[in-house]
């Protein structure tokens, strides 16, 4: 599904990723853990095509296609979803309008029929219910006045609506209370746990992994994967800290 080879990337001329190699097969959830400054968010943004993140070496393929040949919106249409650590507020644009236009833009570029207003409202209500979010909130401007937890729940509702094949979730668990954490975990499991789907879960803490069991855990340090293992590796990191595990 996702194949990253010897990836080097810079931000403002400063090298952040230094030869990262990682493969996430279809049907698997992989967690990437690491200390602050290891390059976790940079990895998410490089995969998402954010301007300002420059790839200097290496390759990434998504379903065999060169990811860097695709614009950010084309990556979304190809089935990739990027969950933001800091979801962005858009005053004056309702969530319903934002998501319906986004989804229909994806569908147009895939040659699929666009959803009508009624069809879209039904879909968004279903997905909001699944994540325990009041569908009325989707009438409000995108993320404006949302608490940290509400924004992250809304990210998961968006993931449900977009129905991606690959989700890259950048610290979706940060700033969540325990109920929201459970809801996010349940959302990831119900939406993304399937034989033809994959998740790259970027996180600083082990606690989300109590609700989502990863197939593999990787430790990112100084822009490279320094260790990989099973779910037990997350517990070891939690006990012993990154310095020990990365040594």
């Amino acid at each position: 599904m996702l194949k990253i080879e010897n990836l080097h990337a810079t931000v403002a001329g400063k090298p952040i990723l230094n030869g990262l190699t990682l493969t996430v097969p279809a049907g698997e959830i992989h967690a990437i853990m690491g200390p602050n400054g290891a390059g976790k968010s940079t990895l998410a943004y490089v995969l998402g095509g954010r301007p300002g993140y420059e790839v200097t070496e290496g390759s990434v393929t998504f379903d065999g296609r060169d990811l860097f040949e695709m614009e950010p919106h084309e990556r979304a249409a190809a089935g990739m979803f990027l969950g933001f650590q800091y979801p962005v507020e858009i005053p004056g644009v309702s969530y319903l309008q934002f998501l319906r236009e986004s989804l229909n833009s994806q569908r147009r570029s895939r040659g699929e029929k666009e959803l009508s207003g009624a069809e879209f409202i039904r879909l968004s209500k279903d997905k909001a219910a699944l994540l325990g979010m009041d569908a009325e909130m989707l009438k409000r401007p995108v993320n404006v006045g949302f608490s940290g937890g509400e924004k992250k729940r809304a990210e998961m509702v968006q993931m449900g609506i977009m129905d991606p094949r690959l989700a890259i979730l950048d610290e979706t668990d940060s700033g969540l209370d325990i109920d929201a954490l459970k809801a996010v975990g349940a959302g990831i499991n119900s939406i993304m746990r399937a034989p033809d789907r994959s998740v790259l879960l970027i996180t600083h803490y082990q606690r989300l992994l109590d609700y989502v069991t990863p197939d593999a855990v990787h430790v990112l340090s100084r822009g490279k994967i320094v260790r990989s293992g099973g779910p037990e590796l997350a517990h070891e990191l939690e006990r012993e800290g990154y310095a020990e595990a990365a040594a």
Binding site: P72, A77, L82, L103
Partner: protein, 246 residues
């Protein structure tokens, strides 16, 4: 016959005088509108479709009358909406205006609000979206006479520039002779937010649709208070925004 204005006149300092020359004959005398006491008037000003589109209105709002004007200024060469309003006791006036243009267009909204009696309220909300080499201006003069106590006058002016060559002018001008008044004005000029554009792209919106959607969010609230049929102003604004976003 009144002479053609020059740019030395404050109200014409950003005007396209060449364009004005072609049409000035029919414009020298503004339209007069009187709203009787306690009456209510709502007007929706749509672009005429002509490349030069100018309206000059002198309005007298009698005691307790309410006026709402919703204006879309979108001429391809020169669009100018000029309103001179005299407000009597307790009158309530609001203008919601948009300058939306690209190319070499010059778009301006020029207002003079005269608060000549106590307790009148005026609210002006102007949003400009300018691409290419377009110029969009708002010149808003508020005059509060000695008798205009408890005047509440407000201007909110925001402009969005889409290209390096586009220009926005915002010029509030207040002349106040009463001592118990509330006059507020705010103006900003900005460009589309990169984080918002990237967020929209990450959700699958192509760049033109993303820009158009964000611009609609910027302008859209202007039409919220229209009562009844909006005569298509929201849709016309949307089409104009899509055009400048492309």
């Amino acid at each position: 016959m009144t002479a053609l204005p020059t740019r030395k006149l404050e109200a014409y300092r950003y005007a396209d005088i060449d364009a004005l020359r072609d049409v000035w004959d029919g414009l020298a005398q503004p339209d007069e509108v009187k709203i009787a006491a306690q009456q209510r008037l709502q007007q929706i000003w749509l672009p005429s479709g002509d490349e030069i589109d100018i309206r000059r209105v002198e309005m007298v709002v009698a005691a307790g009358a309410v006026v709402r004007i919703f204006a879309l200024n979108n001429a391809s060469r020169y669009g100018r909406y000029e309103i001179d309003v005299t407000m009597h006791e307790g009158a309530d006036f609001a203008l919601f205006g948009a300058n939306i243009g690209g190319g070499n267009s010059t778009l301006e909204i020029v207002t003079t609000l005269k608060h000549v009696a106590p307790g009148a309220t005026s609210h002006q909300t102007i949003r400009s979206v300018l691409g290419d080499k377009a110029t969009g201006s708002f010149l808003g003069r508020i005059e509060v006479a000695r008798e205009g106590q408890q005047t509440d006058a407000e201007q909110s002016v925001k402009a969005m520039l889409l290209d390096r060559g586009a220009t926005a002018n915002a010029k509030p001008e207040l002349e106040i002779f009463a001592d118990d008044v509330k006059c507020a004005h705010g103006a900003t000029v900005g460009e589309l937010d990169r984080n918002q554009l990237y967020y929209a792209a990450a959700r699958g919106l192509d760049p033109v649709s993303a820009r158009a959607l964000l611009l609609e969010g910027f302008v859209g609230g202007l039409w919220d208070e229209i009562e009844g049929d909006d005569q298509g102003i929201a849709e016309m604004a949307r089409v104009a925004l899509r055009k400048v976003a492309a």
